[in-house]
Amino acid sequence: MAVNTENAAAAVQDWLRENVTGGREVAEDYALIDNGVLTSLQTVELVTFLEDRFDIMVEEDEFDEENFGSVQAIAGLVASKTS
């Protein structure tokens, strides 16, 4: 299956529901880190999940709020790495 921002976003939403929000959906552009939804350790876990799931590598300088600050941003990063 080709990875695009849509199914990457769906995978991130699933992971968030399962591990962070307790079933709640968050808006795609909601600031996850600035609003304290996602802690740094949870983000580390999310990266491990995404790396396994989409067979990608997140570089150290990509591991920041710009790329992980919202569902949209994360999906964009994943899609850019799989295209």
């Binding site: 591990n19 307790g22 880190i33 600035d34 304290g36 740094s40 350790l41 150290e60 591991f63 920041d64």
Partner: protein, 528 residues
């Protein structure tokens, strides 16, 4: 001539006089001066008084780390009240517990968070940041931004002295629900004097605030910066790329963190190696032991820039207790150093006598940061805050010292080494948790019959939280019941309270007195 330092407002006044145009706080792209801090905290103090805050009242601060959160602490203090910083990771049940425990009637918070609270949580005025919250609030609402800019003069200048309550710091112990450590102005000011002395802070420092403000060690970056007139740079994201950017962009000179933060920093090894952090004068660790391998790697990488490494140990009940000076950094990772300035650390055996070198005993803290006890909990206070065992009986003024519950030993050169704890307290990412808090949370799902929680050593985070439960007969299969329980926990508690594993048993083993055998269950788990 500087003002004598008795209260937080004295620290503020000195820094304002030193240079009102100097930058006090950097929050994202915004820079706020000491003059701003003075004006806005006075405006908010006035608004708090108008909202009915009386001397000694508790003002809750439920804000993400921000400029407003810093102003709120000083405003409460200037209104003669005590601020209670609430962990922004807390969910409505923890906030409701805490608001009731110390009777918070006035709250300052982020709208999104306030909107989720149970409506009865706050009876008085709520100051909101952002759009007015739509639900969750029963009392009066005030726009925080307007209160900060009002420029109103105070109704009355409230006299505050060093023996007044400054703040309540919530933490957990080995049993029961979280306890509020009542901390006086003297405790806070002494803590700032002591820490800024051994970290050698100056007005030129640019200190990164990477820890939560509700945590004593996190509040310390604020109080030390305030005392010396340094710049405090607020950092919300602790992702490796953001940490690196913040350190470099702001020319950070001092960084205090807990062990998981160093693991995140070490992900940027390549960057640090290519361009050493030459502006970083020191890092300081607290909240647990850094795994030896990480400590060695930090020494190597930060050695490139001559950055000093301080190791600290503290307990909320006495703010800070010991530190290891950087020049002693070759001591093994369990070494927690010596007493902080103006403080005595005793190692006491079960008979109440001082231990000989090498003999394990309980760490007992004596000094000006010994707090006023646990808010509203006399029994727990008597257990932890006891008369100084070594005071001469003729001294009638009973001086209280803090019994830490931590077992340590002292070597021939007076250096202290952490050994462990005998009780069931769990420590995860620098946070303290009691097993009962986790167990109550599990039981609250309605699916759990019996629960037992305990900590299992994991050098990366301190301890993992593990739960062993038996299920109520709901007809659900174990797998989906555990999923539902996990979801309940995630929804109703901060992430560090969520058990790493939830294991189901038909029945939990009991002790002779019929209580759940936590020791037996945890050692059975440890033995596989």
């Amino acid at each position: 001539m500087a003002h004598p330092e008795f209260t937080l407002q004295d620290l503020l006044r000195n820094s304002v006089e030193r240079g009102p145009e100097r930058v006090a706080v950097v929050d994202g792209k915004a820079e706020h001066t000491y003059g701003d801090l003075d004006h806005q905290s006075l405006s908010l103090a006035t608004a708090l008084q108008e909202a009915g805050v009386e001397k000694g009242d508790r003002v809750g601060v439920y804000l993400e780390k921000s400029w407003e959160a810093i102003v709120a602490m000083l405003a409460a203090s200037r209104a003669g009240a005590a601020y209670v910083n609430i962990n922004p990771l807390f969910k409505p049940p923890q906030v409701a517990y805490l608001a009731q425990d110390c009777d918070i009637r006035v709250m300052i918070g982020d709208s999104a968070r306030l909107g989720e609270l149970e409506p009865a949580t706050i009876s008085g005025t709520t100051f909101y940041k952002g759009e007015a919250p739509e639900a969750g609030i029963s009392g009066e609402l005030v726009n925080l931004a307007e209160a900060l800019e009002s420029g109103d003069a105070p109704v009355e200048e409230r006299e505050v002295s060093e023996v007044d309550l400054a703040t309540i710091l919530y933490t957990s112990g080995s049993t029961g629900m979280p306890k509020g450590v009542a901390t006086s102005q003297r405790n806070v000011v002494s803590g700032a004097q002591i820490v800024s002395t051994y970290l050698e802070n100056t007005p030129e420092d640019r200190i990164l605030s990477a820890l939560p403000l509700n945590f004593d060690a996190g509040m310390s970056q604020f109080t030390t910066a305030l005392r010396v007139g340094a710049t405090l740079v607020l950092q919300r994201s602790r992702l490796p790329g953001d940490l690196m950017k913040a350190l470099r962009r702001h020319g950070i000179t001092g960084l205090t963190g807990v062990p998981p933060l160093w693991a995140l920093l070490l992900r940027s090894t390549k960057s640090i190696q290519e361009e050493p952090l030459s502006h970083l004068r020191y890092i300081a660790n607290t909240g647990g032991r850094i795994p030896q391998a990480n400590l060695d790697e930090l020494k190597r990488l930060l050695g490139l820039s001559g950055t000093k490494i301080y190791r600290m140990y503290g307990l909320t009940e006495a703010f800070r207790s010991t530190y290891l000076p950087p020049e002693e950094g070759d001591r093994e990772s369990s070494c927690i150093g010596k007493a902080i300035p103006n403080t005595e650390i005793l190692v006491v055996n079960k008979e109440g006598k001082e231990c000989a070198p090498g003999e394990p005993g309980e760490l007992v803290h004596r000094g000006p940061t010994v707090a006023m006890g646990y808010w509203g909990n006399e029994e727990a206070t008597r257990r932890a805050y006891r008369p100084n065992p070594l005071a001469p009986p003729e001294l009638l003024d009973v001086e209280r010292v803090v019994y830490s519950g931590d077992t340590v030993s002292r070597d021939e050169d007076d250096y202290l080494y952490f050994i462990g704890r005998e009780d069931a307290m769990i420590k995860n990412q620098g946070y303290r948790l009691s097993p009962e808090e986790v167990e109550n949370l599990l039981l609250g799902s309605g699916l759990v019959h019996e629960a037992c929680a305990f900590g299992v050593e994991n050098p990366d985070v301190g301890q993992d939280v593990i739960a062993v439960i038996s299920l109520r007969d709901t007809g659900e299969d174990n797998g989906s019941a555990v999923d539902a329980i996990r979801q309940h926990v995630i929804k109703n508690a901060p992430p560090y309270m969520v058990p790493k594993e939830i294991l189901v048993r038909d029945d939990l083993p009991k002790t002779g007195s019929g209580k759940i055998d936590r020791k037996g269950i945890s050692s059975a788990y440890a033995n596989g």
